[in-house]
């Protein structure tokens, strides 16, 4: 089976200034995203993440190399039938309601009228926007825009989703809800390519990640492989004093194991926030 996404020797240069000096945004990038995983694309600003995504979607023409979507050259219009795309900080037609917007994109993807109504209802409910679907898009908050954006990406039931910073500017409740949605999509057999600056969220969410810097791939693998946590575990216990820690270390050493770190426990601020603010707000009740 062909990988969901593949780039081979991808290069993208942008001419800068009148002399035509070239700025290399992506530099000989080889990337393979297997089907059915959540794949994180990480990197600082200007590392080439968005350009790579645009090349994958045929929005920019590679200077060299090739991109494939499920084995098909990504420059072909037909290849994009398998892709749903949520751009960074999405901006949609303000004069449409959420339902009309999703319907419009559904029709653009070739859904027939009969099929469309059912699909629109399904995806709008899936992203928790049923209650606000008949409001004009111009009245939506940032979090709602992201969710209706995800609905338009899902409307034609693509096998691959490309989500560029899907939680940018979204509060922790909305962000957690988005993460749950993304996990649900992976569990339903979709492939998700994700970019984000929230490394903690990416670590918790992604099966595999690639790190880009100045257009080059600098690391790739599962999160456990990259963090060195493949053969390790974390235990949370009641507070131990210095003598008890020493005793535990000796006990572990006798069994061939090491104690690699001791840190204060607790649930973390994000867990407390989510508990106090309530996850149910993300279920479509946001004003």
């Amino acid at each position: 089976m062909a990988p969901a996404l593949e780039t081979r020797g991808l290069v993208k240069d942008f001419p800068v200034g009148l002399r035509g000096v070239k700025l290399r945004a992506v530099d000989h990038l080889d990337l393979t995203v297997p089907a059915g995983v959540i794949y994180g694309l990480l990197g600082p600003n200007g590392s080439g993440k968005s350009t790579t995504i645009k090349a994958l979607l045929g929005l920019v023409t590679p200077s060299a190399g090739e991109c494939r979507i499920f084995g098909r050259p990504s420059g072909e219009v037909a290849a994009r039938r398998e892709v749903g795309y949520l751009p960074e900080a999405p901006y949609f037609y303000r004069h449409l309601t959420g339902r009309e917007l999703v319907g419009f994109y559904g029709r653009m993807c070739g859904l027939g009228r009969r099929e469309l109504a059912g699909r629109v209802e399904t995806v709008v409910a899936q992203v928790g926007m049923t209650g606000a679907a008949d409001r004009a898009v111009e009245t939506y908050s940032k979090g709602m825009l992201q969710r209706i954006g995800l609905a338009q990406a899902l409307v034609h039931d693509p096998r691959l989703l490309i989500l560029d910073e899907p939680t940018a500017g979204v509060d922790p409740v909305g962000s957690a809800a988005m993460a749950d949605l993304i996990r649900g999509l992976r569990d339903a057999g979709k492939t998700v390519l994700l970019t984000s600056h929230l490394l903690g969220q990416m670590e918790a969410l992604c099966d595999r990640v690639a790190i880009l810097d100045r257009g080059r791939l600098v690391a790739e693998g599962t999160v456990a492989e990259l963090t060195g946590g493949a053969g390790r575990q974390q235990l949370e216990v009641d507070r131990l004093d210095e003598a008890q820690v020493t005793e535990l270390r000796a006990w572990l050493a006798a069994r061939g194991c090491g104690l690699h770190g001791v840190a204060a426990g607790g649930r973390g601020l994000d867990a407390v926030f989510l508990e106090r603010v309530g996850r149910d707000r993300a279920g479509g009740k946001e004003a």
Binding site: K54, L57, G58, L59, V60, T61, R72, E76, V77, A78, R80, R81, E82, V83, Y85, P87, P90, Y91, F92, Y93, H95, L96, F104, Y105, R107, M108, C109, G110, G149, Q152, I162
Partner: protein
Amino acid sequence: MKGAPFSFLRLGLVAQNTLREAVRQRLLHLFVGLALALVLGARGLRDFNFGAPELKFLADCGFGAMTLFGSALTIAATAQLFFSELENRTALTLLAKPVWRAEFLLGKLLGVALLTALFCALLTGLLAAVLWVREGELMALDPEGFRGGRAVSYAMVALGGSLQWLRLVVLAAFTLLVASFARTQVFAVVCGFGVLVICHLQHLAQEAYTRAGSAVGVALGGFLGGMFPNFQVLSLADSLDAADLPSLATWARLTAYGLGWAVAAGLLAVLSFRRREI
């Protein structure tokens, strides 16, 4: 997996969305409002008729309003509706779908063509109503002068409106052609007005060059004639007399002339936009 052939349905959806967006724009409301005001208020300007018959003067005012405000509306709408897609990044979402760039661009053109069709239909209808009412008043005042019945050919008025529309469609296509490679909306608007001036005045330039006998001038005139349509060709509406009504063949030839230029400019725009980086 099936391919994704060019789809007129998708093109139509882009056009429909473009039209919906256009009719909500305040600047366009302003142009339509001014044009309507000029047609309705033309009777108040009768003293400035420079000796032309009153009904002819009213018709000139109506078609003048269509040309002036219709051209401004067409250029502004085409540039704004195209660049708003790029600047607001709605084009990014749309072109990431299985959509051909040609469907997107020609859909935009069709949307503006529908907008200008509504504009011309509205103004032509209003002009016809103004002429009808005033002609009725004049007939009551001077029955002898209208012994043969109504003097105005309303078929000519309708034809004049349709020719105005053809000009606006050609203008929209040329503005879109510039927008397809332009970096800024202002550049596209300025070039749009430049095209308008060339298309309106090139016949005068050609006549002047020919009279002067300058080889360079004649060559320049020929170049302009080859690169831009001559809007004078689409100006049969100077007369309101039914006797001047062109034949069906002439009307078809004029339509083919206008649409031919629009299609050619539209296809060039598609070619130019094909590899534009979004």
